[in-house]
Symmetry: C2
Subunit: 175 residues, 2 copies
């Protein structure tokens, strides 16, 4: 069975979307998507609010209550029958996110088990046949086939095959 490595944030979970909705609601302000280009959606928030946003990101519970990316559950349920699926999240920068991420995954993807989750600091030590990730820094050194999952912060990136949504992932992996 071929192994597919799937990222969590901005790929199956939606921290950016949650944060933008919360920010709009609390401050009545919009983010600047242009400023996200280059790799970090945090930069889309006004500079004097970035500490508040970062603190919310670091707090216990934030990653527990995120929305699930559209169609990801249905497509990964099918992929899990045909591939060895691993969810790999660069999460050790956020100590409070670790248990939240595990519980979130098992709630929304009940067909996956704790054996299929990896929480790491650096994805260079992850090997597999396919990787789906929204960050070039994670894909760069991967030895298998790479797919950049489209997100506001990577729309300027060239040179990668893209997956724009989970319907497209189904077209690739479930043909």
């Amino acid at each position: 069975m071929q192994r597919v490595i799937i990222d969590m944030d901005e790929v199956i979970a939606d921290p950016m979307g949650d944060m933008i909705a919360w920010y709009r609601n609390k401050y009545g302000l919009e983010v600047d998507y242009q400023k996200m280009l280059g790799g970090s959606w945090l930069r889309g928030f006004p500079e004097d609010h970035q500490v508040i946003v970062k603190n919310r990101l670091m707090a216990e519970g934030f990653f527990r209550n995120l929305s699930v990316m559209l169609d990801s559950v249905e497509v990964i349920r099918e992929m899990n029958k045909r591939y060895e699926v691993f969810i790999v999240s660069a999460a050790t920068e956020f100590p409070n996110s670790l248990k939240d991420k595990l519980e979130w995954l098992l709630e929304h993807f009940p067909f996956l088990t704790w054996r299929q989750l990896t929480l790491c600091g650096d994805k260079r030590l992850i090997c597999g046949d396919f990787m789906i990730d929204d960050h070039v820094r994670n894909l760069e050194q991967f030895k298998g086939k790479k797919y950049l999952f489209s997100s506001a912060h990577n729309m300027d990136v060239k040179g990668y095959d893209r997956i724009n949504n989970w319907r497209e992932a189904a077209d690739i992996f479930l043909r």
Copy 2:
């Protein structure tokens, strides 16, 4: 730089030693080391106490307060200058251990960073040049050079190069 994958429990941290000391103190009983052979030190505890032991293992705080394995700090500090060191722990079975393990590592090995820790469910997706681990199930499918770190539960295992303690690891990696 070559990459060394180092396990946590029974290799740099001592959950078995802590549990045995606690058990002896609480019940005045000894464990049966013979029964650990085959892969699980939990089996060394009397059957009617195994639930109590497992519950203590699952509780928040258990992995936060473990002893550090003799000489591991000094040897890994030097290894970290010559190799790309990653600490990889099969931990997602224990939701309450995740943050504890991160905090424990950064306290006792302050020269390592969160980037060097991976908490996973299955080590088959980990690649590197060397792996030091006390479980055959983790070493089996590793593509690089494997070292079985000796522990009470693996003394019957044949067919692996062994590291019996961190002085021996220094002889191998810091010659």
